[in-house]
């Protein structure tokens, strides 16, 4: 096969994959809002959305339309360019990170082996961390450009929180890297496959630190201070309306999905799970296992929201800097000693 048609095929497949994954992720984030409202409602002995469609299943659609037709208000003294740019940055970055997430093995199509992944970078994990950590810009810029006090304080607090927990987040993953010796997300799952054991059993502390920091990174309960309604009105997006407002939420939910994907890949064996049945089922079952594990994490997120109260800001910062950071460092040292002693 000549290289130009090979490249054309590669590009074509890539475009199809990007479109499909984007569509799935957009739908998933929309229905995550439905799931959240439904689960939290049931935890609180309510029904949640029930009117729009059976069991309120069309609620996300109705919400989307409503956001679209709402008045688009830009506050008088806002920095207009940055004010518009902030939700765009949040949205773009949240949906960019998914490009390196593998969600299954591979399937063959007309003699080509096509992996269930947009692209497998050697530095996949680094890419995810880099892209998600840029998300703090959208929040800082949104808070600042609104030229209003609540968004400013919300944005500042939120940025300080995110960068503080990002340290522990990054350090918590190093234990896994020391064991697996690769930054490729596919490689990390393949390592777990070869050794027949999920990394959670080797890195329980790393996982706990990672997931705690990840909850703070995505601004979720009990670390949802940026949105602490009781003190900051709405936080950094107080002045935002219509779809610009929705974009911050879409981004937040997409980030939750990304974080859950990384937790699944690094600690819970990614798409690994029992396989059975005919070949087509063996191809698609891993995708199911992956989605199922990610779903469990997302459900846990919502469960936490229905259960825990919010931290106070000084408690939050103290916890990040004085508890999570030393624990993450200690985890690296212990892992290092164990790996060096056993190899």
């Amino acid at each position: 096969m000549d290289t130009s048609s090979d490249t054309a095929f590669f590009l074509g497949v890539t475009v199809v994959k990007v479109v499909v994954i984007l569509w799935v992720l957009l739908t998933a984030t929309a229905y995550l809002t439905w799931l959240e409202r439904k689960v939290v409602a049931h935890i609180q002995s309510r029904w949640g959305p029930y009117r729009v469609g059976p069991h309120g299943l069309l609620q996300p659609l109705a919400d989307g339309l409503k956001f679209l037709f709402k008045e688009d208000i830009v506050p008088a003294d806002a920095d207009r360019v940055i004010y518009w740019l902030a939700p765009f940055i949040a949205f773009t970055l949240a949906f960019l990170a998914i490009a390196v997430i593998p969600f299954g093995g591979s399937f063959s199509f007309h003699g080509h082996v096509i992996p269930f992944q947009i692209t497998d970078l050697d530095v996949g994990l680094l890419f995810v961390l880099a892209v998600t950590s840029l998300g703090v810009y959208s929040i800082a810029l949104a808070g600042w450009s609104s030229n209003s006090k609540y968004p400013l304080f919300g944005g500042l607090r939120s940025s300080a929180q995110m960068i503080s927990y990002e340290l522990s987040l990054g350090l918590a993953l190093i234990g896994v890297l020391m064991i697996t010796g690769t930054l490729s997300l596919r490689g990390i799952v393949e390592y777990q496959q070869q050794h027949g054991m999920w990394n959670i059993f080797k890195q329980p502390v790393g996982f706990l630190v990672y997931f705690t920091a990840a909850i703070a990174e995505t601004n979720r309960v009990p670390f949802d201070l940026p949105e602490g309604e009781t003190e900051l009105v709405g936080g950094y997006h107080t002045e935002y309306s219509s779809f610009k407002f929705a974009m911050f939420f879409i981004a937040e939910y997409a980030n939750m999905v990304t974080v859950s994907c990384v937790a699944t890949l690094l600690f819970f064996g990614g798409w690994l799970g029992p396989l059975f049945g005919p070949p087509w089922l063996r191809t698609w079952l891993p995708v199911f296992w992956f989605c199922f594990k990610v779903f469990c994490f997302l459900f846990f997120y919502i469960w936490l929201r229905g259960t825990l109260p919010r931290f106070r800001y000084d408690q939050l910062m103290a916890f990040g800097w004085k508890v999570l950071l030393p624990v993450a460092l200690l985890n690296i040292l212990v892992t290092g000693a164990v790996v060096a002693a056993s190899s």
């Binding site: 475009v15 679209l68 037709f69 008045e71 949906f95 692209t119 006090k149 940025s159 960068i163 190899s343």
Partner: protein, 119 residues
């Protein structure tokens, strides 16, 4: 090698197109009836006092600075961790000394109260 990064570009173009399109459509179809009160910054219904371009707590700046320091450390650890298995005790000792130096700094800022928010 570079081919692995091509899909990232495709993804970036697709995502930013979708994002820009949604923002444009929303700005286009949403009605607009601006008024002075509606466009003023939100301050719980009262007339806004001054402007939001004010001074804010120095602590935020401090956190930013400490973050840079420790994040550089974390970035250093990544390549080390990937090749750790071939470095073994040598790599462990080297990094142990490195972390020890940082730990001294960490204890110093803790003792100085840089990590206490309500100081």
């Amino acid at each position: 090698m570079l081919r692995d990064y091509l899909p990232i570009l495709v993804q970036l173009i697709a995502v930013s197109t979708v994002g820009a399109a949604i923002l444009a459509v929303s700005a286009w179809v949403g009605k607009r009836r601006p008024s002075r009160e509606k466009l003023s910054p939100y301050e719980c219904g009262s007339v806004p006092v001054g402007n939001a371009r004010e001074r804010f707590s120095i602590s935020f700046y401090l956190v930013g600075m400490l973050f840079i320091l420790f994040d550089v450390e974390a970035v250093f650890l990544y390549p080390w961790a990937v090749v750790y298995k071939s470095l073994k005790w040598f790599g462990f000792l080297e990094m142990f000394l490195y972390i020890l130096v940082l730990l001294a700094g960490y204890l110093y800022i803790w003792k100085k109260g840089a990590l206490d928010w309500t100081r």
